[in-house]
Every structure is written in structure tokens, then in C-alpha cells.
């Protein structure tokens, strides 16, 4: 047997032993993500003018201050209160609304406010596929970089669907959620649906006192199986009602409801008590803070907020991002999508998820205030909203007042799908109503409710913030606790590429481990096995090819062994 084979075998063994020893000495270094590598965005959207936060008066409409980062455009509020037919052209141009979006006329009962209300709604797609480039438009982010395909009822607008013609970002009027509608008991209301979308749709006025059928307009319960045929693209339909009862109600599309509702065709509709001079903010675009509350609400409360909770299935929204052909979208949505196999992935409050909820859905309070909160759950599952630091009183279920003697206080509010709750939040520091000032979380206590596509922090969580905890830019002031919210305002966070605990200590003890420089155990074993196999093969080859030699030397050896024996004998 050749000696060099033995040598090589020895070398291999020594080398592999060395490799094993070296690799197990040290684990990989931590790789820390440099903040400069992140596509961060300002916490507060700079597009929005700080002047919008101030209390002001436009065209005679008083608008309350709204110190959050992204308050509603005051021009929207003026137009919603007076009607687009009664505001100045200058104000109208600042809204982007069509001049016939909200028409208010005829003080029928002579109490100083208009009683004929026409509200025109269109249906718009957000984040849908285009045949022109790979990507979606018009874009609407519910959190940084998160763009679920969605449909909304939108106030009738004028001009472009994007911010401007160089942008693919949606016009601010085109957004989730569908706008909150406010009308008064006794108003003759016409909701005119102009179906600008490529699918059939309808409106169902859930909880609102409306006749099943209207003499002039036909069936109007919105249900294609009972009251009316689907409203086709390009068509319009009028839903007319004169509500006799007030309350927080719900409107949504009732065509293929299991998908259309989840896609975003759902909004709050509030019937306010009839009072003199009750000029209502007919639309609260984007929901949230009501900056021109009704007379009845102002009598009892210091502030009012509309809180619309919604949930969306990622796979459902992706259908409109996968296909452009409406027939393929219809096929996948109506016949292939199985809602019983679906899961909800995005949880939103007023159309947005954390951290964008901090921009426009903070409940900003002062001590000793009474705040009216109207909650709607338009998701597919029950939610359980928890108010940190506060117990609130449930005053109304599904728009109907609960017996005042029997009203209860809770800190978790379970809301079934389509259900509405009116809460009275009192910021009285007595250990029950409130534990005092702070930046108190308000969140869905199903733990997935604080996630976005299954990853925290996200979902519908927001805060009840006392003004002493509110920064100048309208964001919660928490930096004195060492908290930095900036990481949430990056795409990379939601792409799951930012180790969320890396900045908790200087050496990033819970950061991302780097790649192993040596070989890991599995690879080592694999390589060694390959090596042994090769050697074994070589050995076998040698044995076979030199069989004659081996045999010869073997016989010689045996002979040598034998011969001494023989000679001995």
C-alpha cells in the first residue's frame, strides 16, 4: 500500500479537526442596522399645514382646534357643514370636492338649518393593478409601505385621483375608511351613489330608519336578493330616507358583501337629534375627531370622536393587485376566494394602522372632560377594545340609548361585527374614570389586533393622550422616557427587516446575528462525510485496480509467515 495515501488521510483528519475546533470557539458577531440605511419618513406628515390644527372660522363655520399631527382639512369641514353649494369658490377649490358633492337646501321646519340634504358618493379603488407598470395605484399606505388593495365610498370629487399628475399617491379625498355621514332626525336625505367603479355595488343603510322601497327610486335596502338589482358601473342610484330615530349606524355595500365590505365599502352613518340651528358636519372624511359637533353633542360633551375599526384579509386585497381584467377579479373574488379559509391580516382604526393611527386617530384630552366616542366594528370578527387608564360608560348599543339607570362602566368593550357602541369617556382623575394624565394606549385586546400582517407593533392601536403628553407636532411626547418612535415610520420595519430590539442596549444584545464565518456543524458533518466517502471510494478503487499487486504481496507475506513456520517444523 502506497505511503502517500496514508499521509493524505492523516492531513484531512487533522484539517477537519482544526476546522471543528475553530468554529465552535466564537458565535457570529451582531449586525446592527444603521438608521441611515432605513427609508424613514417624518413622524408627522409634512404635507399637512400646521395652521390646520388651530381653531378657526371658514365661511362662517366654526371649526374646533384639533392639535393632532394630521387634522382634517378645515375647508372640508366648512364644505361639509354648509354644503358645497353654499361655500365660497375659494373654499371649494381647497377641498377638491365636486361642487355638487353635498347639497344643502330648504329649511322645511323653519328651525334655522337646512333639511334637504343630498350627499353624492363615488366608489374608488386604492392600490389596484395597472397594465402600464408593475406596481399599484393610486397608492394609499395604511402603515409605511403597507398598501392593501381596497375599495371605498368617497365623497364626489373633481379632478385627478392622485395628489397631482406627477404622483401616484391617492388624492387625500380617496382614502380608507369610507367617510362618516352625519344627518339630522327629520332631514330628507338623498344619498346618491354614482358607481364609478368597474363592479356592481349598492348601499345598505344598516340601522338607519329608511323605507324598504321609495316611490320614485324603487327598492332601497341595498340587497340584490330582496330589494333591487346591482347598480352597474356608470350608473347612479338614489337612496332616500327621513330618519325618525337618532343613533350611531352603519352603511355598507350589500353586493357580494363578504368581500365588498371587507374591501372597505363600509362607513359610519350618524343620525343626530333634531335641534334648532343644527348645521351638521355632513361628512367626517377619514373619521376621527369631529371638529364641528352637533348641537346635542355640544350640550353634553366637550369633544366627539368617530372611531371606525376595520379588518382586511391580505389575500383578498391582493386579488385586485394580481389581475387588471375585471372578469378575472370577479372570478377570483366571487368563485375562488373562500372566506371560511381566510384570516384577517390588517387591523385599522379610521383606515390606518399603527403608527399612522398616531397621526390622526389620537384621542386628545384634557383633565375633567366628557368625551363622546362612537365606535363601529366593520371587521369580520368580534373585537375587544381596551382603554388603558380609563373606564368608560356605555351609553348606546347599536344607536339605541341604554337605560341610563342601567348603564355600565368597563375597560374592555366587546363589539360584534357591524355593531356600534357609544361611550362616555370622562377624564376625571378618581382612580376609576381615569388614573390621571398620560399617553394611555387604546387598543383591540385580541393580541392580533395590535399586529400588521401578524407582526407587532401595528394594528389598530392608538392612544388617549392628555395634552401635557402631546408634542408640538401633534405626536405623543414620550422621548423623556427614552422612547424613540422613529423606527416605526420606516418601510423596513414593516418589511420585517429591522430587528426591533437592537437599540435597547449599546451592544445590541438582541440584534441580528451575522453569518457564521467558519462552518456550521451541519455543513462540517456534510463535508466530512463527503471526505470520508471520497477516501473510501479511493480505497476501493485502489484495491480493485491493484488487486493483482495486493494479491501478490499478500501471498508473499503469507508465504513469508508460513515459511518460517514450515522451517520450524
Amino acid at each position: 500500500m502506497p505511503v502517500h495515501i496514508f499521509f493524505s488521510l492523516l492531513t484531512f483528519c487533522m484539517m477537519s479537526a482544526a476546522v471543528t475546533a475553530q468554529a465552535s470557539l466564537k458565535l457570529p458577531e451582531t449586525v446592527k442596522v444603521d438608521p441611515a440605511a432605513l427609508t424613514g419618513e417624518p413622524m408627522c406628515d409634512p404635507i399637512i399645514s400646521a395652521a390646520w390644527r388651530e381653531a378657526q372660522e371658514i365661511d362662517g363655520v366654526k371649526i374646533e382646534a384639533s392639535p393632532g399631527c394630521s387634522p382634517d382639512n378645515p375647508a372640508w369641514i366648512a364644505a361639509a357643514v354648509k354644503g358645497t353649494n353654499n361655500i365660497s369658490m375659494d373654499t371649494l377649490m381647497k377641498t377638491g370636492l365636486s361642487p355638487d358633492a353635498i347639497i344643502k337646501t330648504d329649511d322645511l321646519d323653519g328651525d334655522g338649518d337646512p333639511d334637504r340634504i343630498i350627499i353624492k358618493l363615488e366608489i374608488m379603488e386604492l392600490n389596484g393593478k395597472t397594465p402600464d407598470f408593475p406596481g399599484v395605484l393610486p397608492t394609499f399606505d395604511i402603515a409605511p409601505g403597507i398598501q392593501p388593495g381596497a375599495w371605498v365610498f368617497a365623497p364626489k370629487m373633481s379632478g385627478m385621483s392622485t395628489e397631482n399628475f406627477e404622483s401616484i399617491r391617492a388624492n387625500p379625498l380617496l382614502r380608507l375608511p369610507s367617510p362618516v355621514i352625519r344627518v339630522e332626525v327629520g332631514d330628507i336625505v338623498q344619498i346618491v351613489l354614482e358607481n364609478t367603479h368597474y363592479f356592481p355595488h349598492s348601499i345598505h343603510l344598516h340601522g338607519v330608519d329608511h323605507p324598504f322601497s321609495h316611490g320614485e327610486h324603487g327598492g332601497q335596502d341595498g340587497v340584490p336578493q330582496t330589494s333591487e338589482v346591482e347598480l352597474m358601473p356608470g350608473e347612479r342610484r338614489i337612496y332616500q330616507f327621513q330618519a325618525r330615530q337618532p343613533g350611531t349606524m352603519f352603511y355598507h355595500c350589500h353586493v357580494q358583501t363578504h368581500t365588498h365590505l371587507a374591501m372597505g365599502l363600509a362607513g359610519m352613518i350618524i343620525v343626530e337629534e333634531n335641534r334648532p340651528n343644527n348645521w351638521l358636519q355632513t361628512l367626517n372624511i377619514g373619521a376621527g375627531h369631529v371638529r364641528h359637533p352637533s348641537v346635542a353633542v355640544r350640550e353634553q360633551f366637550d369633544q366627539e370622536y368617530d372611531l371606525h375599526y376595520h379588518a382586511m384579509d391580505k389575500q383578498l386585497g391582493e386579488i385586485i393587485q394580481k389581475h387588471n381584467d375585471p372578469r378575472l377579479i370577479a372570478r377570483d373574488m366571487n368563485r375562488r376566494y373562500d372566506i371560511t379559509d381566510s384570516t384577517e391580516d390588517y387591523f385599522t382604526l379610521n383606515g390606518l394602522s399603527f403608527p399612522y393611527t398616531l397621526r390622526e386617530s389620537l384621542i386628545i384630552v384634557e383633565p375633567d372632560q366628557k368625551i363622546k366616542l362612537r365606535l363601529l366594528n366593520s371587521g369580520g370578527e368580534q373585537i375587544a377594545v381596551h382603554t388603558h387608564g380609563h373606564h368608560a360608560t356605555i351609553t348606546h348599543y347599536d344607536g339605541v340609548e341604554h337605560n341610563p339607570m342601567a348603564q355600565i362602566m368597563r375597560d374592555v368593550f366587546d363589539i360584534a361585527p357591524a355593531q356600534r357602541l357609544d361611550l362616555k369617556l370622562e377624564t376625571v382623575n378618581d382612580g376609576k374614570h381615569s388614573y390621571g394624565e398620560g399617553d394611555w394606549l387604546i387598543h383591540d385586546h385580541r393580541e392580533k389586533g395590535i399586529t400588521t400582517d401578524g407582526m407587532a407593533e401595528g394594528g389598530s392601536m392608538s392612544s388617549i393622550v392628555y395634552t401635557s403628553y402631546l408634542g408640538k407636532d401633534g405626536m405623543p411626547k414620550v422621548s423623556h422616557f427614552g422612547i424613540d418612535l422613529n423606527k416605526y415610520f420606516t418601510k423596513e420595519y414593516f418589511e420585517r427587516r429591522l430587528p426591533i430590539w437592537q437599540d435597547l442596549d449599546e451592544w445590541a444584545s438582541l440584534g441580528s446575528p451575522g453569518e457564521r464565518t467558519g462552518l456550521d456543524t451541519a455543513t462540517q458533518n456534510l463535508l466530512l462525510n463527503v471526505l470520508y466517502g471520497l477516501l473510501a471510494g479511493l480505497l476501493i478503487y485502489l484495491i480493485f485496480s491493484r488487486w493483482g499487486q495486493i494479491k501478490q504481496s499478500a501471498t508473499a507475506a503469507i508465504a513469508r509467515l508460513k515459511s518460517p513456520k514450515g522451517s520450524n517444523q
Binding site: N85, P99, R116, G128, P131, P233
Partner: protein, 324 residues
Amino acid sequence: MAKTTTIIFLLAGILAFNTHATAQQQDKSSEQEKQDHSGHDMDQDKHDHSGHSISTKTGPAVDHAGEHSADDDHGHDHDIDHSTHDTHAMDHGDMHHHHHMDDDHIMDHEGTMIMGQNLDKLPSSCQSISEEVEITVRAGRKYSAKFPGTAFAFDQQQWHVKPCSKVTWHFINEDSIRHQFMMHGLPKYLYKYGMFHLEVTGPKTVSGTIIVPGSDDTYLVHCDISHHMEKGMKAQLVVGKGGKDIPSIPGLTPYNVTDRYEAEDLPKVSNKSSDKTEKDLLTLEMTNFSDPDLKNYGIMLISALIGLFLIPLFKKIPLHKKND
């Protein structure tokens, strides 16, 4: 034997597909010719109603009573609009007086809009106006019927004008919702943002005029309401010999990003002979390929099958040699 039959069927399928595609193209061009004629007829009807300013009548400027079942609703809606003016004594008699934002932007109380109109400013590339033309454009869901897979469309997808011509557009929206006629890429020194824009809630007409530049070019025309362009409401204006074609115009230019199609197992009336059904299914699958991607996949599939069929043949050759 079975394999040979398959291949023959597949080849027959390809042939059938090609003839089908050619036939479709011919269909389209003849349809477009038809549309052209009807467009011109309407054109003459409309001149009285719509000049360079918008008719301020609240009633529909276009009478489509026969065609639109939604007209009742529309009529009622406008009644209420009338009461608006009565109660608040807003005078809409002279639209230019009340709603003239600036020279570039005219809008009435229903949102009918003319933006970027140019009646007299000659582009620097023009010595004089070459000709004055009037073009009627109809917009509506019904025009998407001839383009399967779309939802909205204009009645024509392409218009030709001479360089330096003065074009008056009569934009007739036949639906009961908003539509737009929006043109991009015009010279910015004459048109704000390089845009000319007509917008109207139908059924109604709006008219506006532009003077096109003196060079050959092709301009995008579309409706910018979310997903109207993506779902078919897209066209182009060709000035002179034109420039680069605009992509994804229904029936005219290919899509940049195409959808995937597959034949579905839909219920159908069964044929008598089962043999024939099989053959029909195969041809159907082949002829259903309507986008270039799928056509390519089909060809790939066929070649793969041919390849598979040939493998045993190749194998046989060396085998025979060895046997020899």
C-alpha cells in the same frame, strides 16, 4: 400512434389560433370605421347646444332618454338642484361670471369643467393655424363592450389631426357618473402642467378647444378617475405622423403588464360523440390564448411535447448500433 395524433391536433390548434387572431383584428378595424361615421353624424347635431362655453341648463344637454334607464333619477336630482338656486338666490345664469376661476379653469355648479383651454395662443412651432376641426368624443361603459376585459371606454381610441390645427372637442359623457377627457404632454408654456382637461357628470356634454403643436407627436388621452384608464378609458391623439404609441390602449396597443388567463371548466351543453368533444376542448384551449405571454407558453408546451416524443427516437439510434 396516440402521440402522433396529439401532435397533429396541436398543430391544427396553432393554425386555428392564427386564423382566429387575424379575424379578430379585421373585426376591430371595421368596427372602428363604423364608429367614425356615427361620431361625425352626432357631431353636426351637437353644434347648436355646445359652443366654447358650457351650457348652463341644469337639464341634460344630451337627450338619451331612450338609452338611459337612470334618466328618471337624474331628472329628479336636477329638480332638487333647481330648488337650491331658488332658496339661496344663487344666479347661475352666467356661468362665466360665477365660476370662472381663471382663464385656465372653468367650472359650473355641477362640476362640469374645462381646464387648459387654448382658443388663440399659437404654439411657437406654428406659423398659423393649419385647419380648424371639431371632434366628438363619446365616453361610457357601453363603449367597453367591444373590448372584453375592460369596463369603461371612449367610442374611439385614436384621433388624427394635422400639426398646428385648432381642435374643438365635444366630449359627450353617456354614463350617469363623472368621466374625464384629459390630455397630457402638451407644451407647458401654453398649457398649465401640459394638460388639457374636460370633465362632466353625464349624461351631458362639455366642449373645449386647443391648438396642437407644429411637430409630429402622439398624446395620451385618458380619464383619471381611479381605474377608468386601467380598465379601458384610454386613447391617443396623433398629430401629423405621430410619435411613439401610448401603451395599453384597448384594441390598439399592447399592455405593458398582462394578466394570466386559463381556460375554466365551465358547464356546457354536451356534444354527441365523446371523441369530438375531446378534440374541441383541445382546439378551444389553443384558440383561447389571447395574450402574447400565453401564446408563447403554448408554443413552449408544444415544443416540449415534441421533444418528449423525440427522446425515444434518439435513444433508439445508439441502441441499434450497439445491437449491431
